[in-house]
């Protein structure tokens, strides 16, 4: 059996089937929806960080761009929701294109500049001077397109597509090229890889995933504020979940979301400060003792992790 097929059977199929069937046995659909959102976002983050090594601290900027692209298309252009979702994705990719020059920076410089960029987009969108267009800080209400059941299905479809994309990267020459660039950009260039083009594509793919997820999020909850969709916490959740599980794999980010977001939902909502404390300690411990993530435990024993 080829490796790619095995990866599809062992990761994509069980996750997608589980989340497609769970709403019929478990009634808290919002919770399941949030899991789907984070599973997809974490994989989107994995595309850029896991495969190219750029740490996008402001990843939430694309999520917010997707949500606002969706909302503005519904409010001002009266698009049907699915077309508006496309507008959200385009908005995120356009933001990605605008921010492409940031890829010239490396390491901490890129992470900080990207963080600053996402905050700048947030401050522009939430500025009271733009109330006529974005409703400024007063938030958006899209009750006309609210249909949670259908939207949940769309979110699962986006998750399936994202997982498919990551499986492709994990098993293709293109994904290998990206990882070669991550390890040593100069050697990769010498080996005939178009470094600039490859990492721009990875960057835009990653923005596309976040834009789609942001759009479907806006559609599902339909009432939100700029702080909700530009919350730095979203970037940080995605980053920590992915690193906790192990980046540049398919299984790692999935494990990270299920374990950590699970813990968050058990204790994080009732006593957020204690969750934050445990969470912080967990991150520090992870970096010090398991910098390659949970899957490195298996990898060290020679087990092939999808």
């Amino acid at each position: 059996m080829p490796k790619a097929l095995r990866h599809v059977l062992f990761t994509l199929v069980p996750v997608v089937v589980a989340f497609a069937l769970l709403p019929s046995v478990y009634s808290n659909q919002l919770l399941l929806f949030n899991f789907v959102i984070y599973l997809a976002l974490t994989q989107g983050f994995n595309i850029i960080y896991g495969f190219t090594g750029y740490l996008p601290f402001g990843y939430v900027g694309f999520f917010g761009a997707g949500a606002y692209g969706f909302a503005l298309a519904v409010m001002h252009l009266h698009f049907p929701p699915l077309a508006a979702l496309g507008v959200g994705a385009v908005a995120a990719v356009l933001l990605g294109l605008v921010l492409t020059p940031l890829l010239r920076l490396s390491g901490a410089y890129f992470a900080i500049a990207n963080l600053a960029a996402s905050q700048a987009v947030f401050l522009i969108v939430s500025n009271p001077n733009l109330t006529a267009i974005t409703k400024g800080p007063y938030g958006i209400s899209l009750s006309g397109v609210f249909s949670p059941g259908f939207t949940y299905g769309v979110a699962v479809a986006i998750l399936a597509a994202t997982l498919g994309l990551v499986i492709y990267l994990r098993n293709s020459r293109f994904g290998l090229a990206l990882q070669a660039i991550r390890e040593d950009a100069i050697s990769a260039g010498m080996a005939g890889i178009n470094v600039v083009l490859s990492r721009t594509i990875a960057w835009l793919l990653s923005a596309l995933v976040a834009g789609l997820v942001g759009g479907v999020f806006a559609w599902y909850i339909s009432v939100f504020y700029p702080e909700t969709v530009f919350d730095l916490g979203v970037s940080i959740f995605a980053i920590v979940f992915a690193l906790f599980g192990g980046t540049a794999t398919i299984l790692g980010p999935i494990l990270g979301v299920i374990i950590l977001y699970g813990i968050y939902n058990v204790i994080g909502i009732s006593t957020p400060q204690y969750f934050q404390l445990i969470y912080g300690v967990l991150i520090v411990g992870l970096v010090l003792f398991l910098p390659e993530g949970l899957v490195s435990i298996f990898k060290r024993r020679g087990i092939d992790v999808p």
Binding site: L55, A108, A111, A113, A116, A117, A120, G280, I283
Partner: protein, 291 residues
């Protein structure tokens, strides 16, 4: 109007130099990104607040206590976190995540200890009535904070350029491996720089209730980003650059607040992105940035 804006910008600029100084020192010496910088500043602010309500000392006394206390905490913290971090594959990247975790811990501890409500200290603590500088009236607290910040910068300059330990610190900044091979106890030098860096953040925190408005446990991340803007505009690892960055930042902030107030909070972000793209090594940077 313009004189007032420029002078207020200068006072705030001196204060912002102090805010960024500790972060710059730590990055310059250890090449790690202290994303918890703003949270140490926040803890310094809460320390001053707590001490004031317990004993009521002048903030200028709390300042020295905060410096000592944070330097003493930071020294063992260095050995707990940094040597292990530096042995990893990509310490600069991992440090961002590690110190993000630390910032979460600090913020959670502050919420558990002080609650989430906003706190403030009366401005009269740093002197009564307006102070006149070149014919313009400023709150006394601004002038005191600005002058104290300038003194702190002079202290760091003196440490780095006029003491033996500072000489060793600059050696580690220039080349880590060469410093090791010449027999410098790099970990001890770095731990002291780490201590001074965090202590400077706490000292800046003591003035935060007067310069930045009320304090909350969640204020850390914004201050961290502002500090990054300040030190990137100057240049990383150069204390004089931080002063330049701070003053540019302070004056531009005051200009924005005076003439374009609703967009003023965009400034640190735009300044940061702009400078990073045009001149990544900062305005006073000489070396080429490590790519």
């Amino acid at each position: 109007m313009i004189e007032y804006t420029l002078l207020a910008g200068l006072l705030f600029g001196l204060y912002f130099s102090l805010v960024g100084l500790g972060l710059n020192l730590i990055f310059g010496v250890m090449r790690i990104v202290n994303l918890a910088h703003g949270d140490f500043l926040m803890l310094g602010a809460f320390f001053a607040y707590w001490l004031f309500h317990l004993l009521g000392p002048n903030p200028l006394i709390s300042l020295f206590l905060a410096f000592l206390l944070f330097a003493l905490i930071a020294y063992p913290l260095y050995f707990l976190l940094v040597p292990r971090l530096l042995s990893a594959r990509d310490p600069e990247m991992l440090s961002i995540i590690l110190f993000f975790g630390l910032s979460q811990v600090l913020e959670a501890l502050a919420v558990i200890g002080f609650g989430t409500s906003e706190r403030s200290l009366p401005g009269q603590l740093l002197g009564h009535g307006p102070v006149q500088i070149l014919g313009q009236n400023f709150p006394a607290a601004w002038a005191t904070s600005g002058i104290a910040s300038a003194l702190a910068v002079v202290f760091v300059y003196f440490y780095l350029y006029r003491t033996r330990l500072g000489y060793l610190t600059r050696a580690v900044m220039v080349h880590h491996e060469e410093a090791v091979s010449t027999g410098i106890n790099v970990h001890r030098v770095s731990a002291i720089a780490f201590g001074i860096g965090l202590a400077l953040a706490a000292v800046a925190g003591v003035f935060a209730p007067f310069m930045l408005g009320s304090i909350t446990p969640a204020m850390g991340i914004d201050i961290t980003i502002t500090s990054f803007a300040v030190i990137v505009v100057g240049s990383l690892g150069n204390p004089l650059g931080t002063v330049l960055g701070g003053i540019i930042y302070g004056i531009s902030l005051m200009m924005m607040q005076t003439y374009l107030s609703s967009w003023a909070n965009l400034l640190p972000y735009l300044l940061l992105i702009g400078i990073l793209l045009v001149r990544p090594s900062g305005l006073l940077g000489r070396q080429v940035r490590r790519a």
